[in-house]
């Protein structure tokens, strides 16, 4: 063992990640450890309270609302994004000139959040462009930002921003399936639906897992748009966990915040391990 360590040290490859590990320890691991510690202590006096913070957390109405909204948001936007982008990439995979389409679909990735917010306001305000059109067509105006419609504006914004990213991922998966499989299916007289259901989808399972993880991660980022459009207290249908954490942070409610952080970290960790397990099993 000792010799192993010695040769390991002598080889010197570890020097390459020493700076990174030092920084990661200070700026990520240390805060993470601190959060875990704090979740068992009171915010102001710093007394040990056991699991009191957690108990309080799960009785907190704001927390429950934010969890519900965040789950609901992911529950709607993931299937919509995944389904739409899959359909688009199947259509694109048949085209010869895909580059222009790919560029256009990816473009929202380059649009700064602040610009997106301005666009949102123009379109979705009570007197905005969409309502103006609805009015002209003789329909009633919708108060997008002040009612439950706010939630759907958020979903739309997420899909708009991430469609291109996801299409690229699907396309790389679809194009990696060998042409001979496609040929074989055609020779056997498979129709479009059979081809998609029997050949494409089963072969794209690994791609599906990665896309799910990445889309899930990107779904945290809608907070930027939501916050910049509607501030700390938006309509309650789009009050997300990120809003709540931001407000706890501003109000110095560190005990609940720490307990909440630990819960989220655990859920994420389990989710990743589960996905990793499913991945390995399928391959």
């Amino acid at each position: 063992m000792k010799r192993k360590v010695k040769s390991w040290l002598k080889e010197g490859k570890w020097i390459f990640f020493l700076p990174s590990i030092t920084g990661v320890s200070i700026f990520i691991l240390l805060p993470l450890a601190d959060v875990i510690k704090r979740s068992f202590y009171t915010a102001v006096t710093g007394e040990f309270t056991g699991i009191d913070n957690y108990v309080e957390l799960f009785q907190n109405q704001a927390f429950l609302l934010a969890v519900k909204n965040t789950l609901r948001f992911t529950g709607f936007c993931l299937p919509i994004l995944l389904g739409l982008s899959f359909a688009v990439s199947i259509m694109l995979s048949r085209l010869k000139q895909v580059q222009l389409f790919k560029s256009v679909y990816l473009f929202p990735l380059a649009v700064p959040t602040a610009t997106v917010v301005l666009i949102w306001k123009m379109f979705f305000l009570k007197q905005g462009i969409i309502n103006s059109l609805l009015n002209q067509w003789g329909m009633n105006a919708v108060d997008f930002m002040g009612t439950k419609a706010a939630f759907w504006v958020l979903v739309f914004s997420y899909v708009w921003k991430n469609l291109g990213y996801t299409v690229i991922l699907w396309l790389s998966g679809i194009l990696s399936i060998s042409d001979s499989l496609l040929e074989a299916a055609r020779v056997d007289g498979a129709n479009e639906r059979q081809y998609i259901m029997r050949i494409l989808l089963p072969n794209l399972k690994p791609t599906l897992y990665t896309i799910t993880v990445l889309s899930f991660l990107n779904s945290f980022k809608v907070f930027r748009e939501a916050y910049l459009v509607a501030g700390s207290y938006p309509h309650e249908s789009m009050y997300l966990l990120q809003h709540l954490f931001n407000n706890w942070f501003t109000n110095l409610e560190f005990d609940k915040m720490a307990a909440g952080s630990v819960c989220i970290a655990i859920v994420l960790f389990l989710g990743i391990v589960l996905l990793q397990y499913l991945w390995d099993k399928k391959e």
Binding site: P19, L118, N135
Partner: protein, 279 residues
Amino acid sequence: MGKALRNILLGFLACIIILPIIMVIFASLKSNYELARSLAPILSDTGGMIHWYIFPGYPTIQHFRKLLLETPQFFIVFWNSVKIVFFILAGQLVIAMPAAWGFARMKSRAARLLFMLYIILMLMPFQVTMLSSYLVLNKMHIINTHLAVILPAVFSTFPVFLIYRGFTNIPISIIEAAKVDGAGEFRIFIKIGIPMASSGIISAFVLGFLEYWNLVEQPLAFLKEKRLWPLSLYLPEIDLAQAGMAFAASVVTLLPAVFVFIMGQDYLEKGIIASAIKE
């Protein structure tokens, strides 16, 4: 599905995606009078609806002139953004790139586990450690300075993950050959690793630029003074009463991102695909 129908669908979708951006660009060329008239229902709440024409009636660059020549605050925040992004990416170059090399070259169990930890950390949302990061940065006396935003981002594990992909694709035989010729690990890294993985490295930086040009959460939590804010926080502060300025500022913010997007398009795609390949 018919070919024509498919093309129409794809084209229609492309229009929906691109239309809002085109509208912002044209809106930045509209005169104050025109904007005030179209936006009157929003600004004065008189009850009507806005009448929006995509094309400006009398195109003018007055807002750009005002923004670029007569609004010193805009310059301050613009340079704040440039500074923050530049130092984050430069720092990542020095920190993340060697780390990725280390992970690509070390096959021990400990290194594997550490890399797994990096992946998990990469997936943690900012809010989880926001509070404790604040306390750590406060202890270091860098809260309310740009360092508070720059330093933690430099040690983000996401670029390590992306660049690592590029390094693992280098055939081991090439590295072995260099070793036989007597090249040390550092020399191999500089002379072989970096050039051969350059597309992966560039893609990490293209994705990084688009991400950090857009920072919202970190500056909001760690910078108290507005003069330190980046563009992404300053822009929403311009209200619609100054619509011309808001649109012009949006376009100016958009330009560097679009420039990087167009220049790095191929790398961007590679980076996206690399981000997906499972460990």
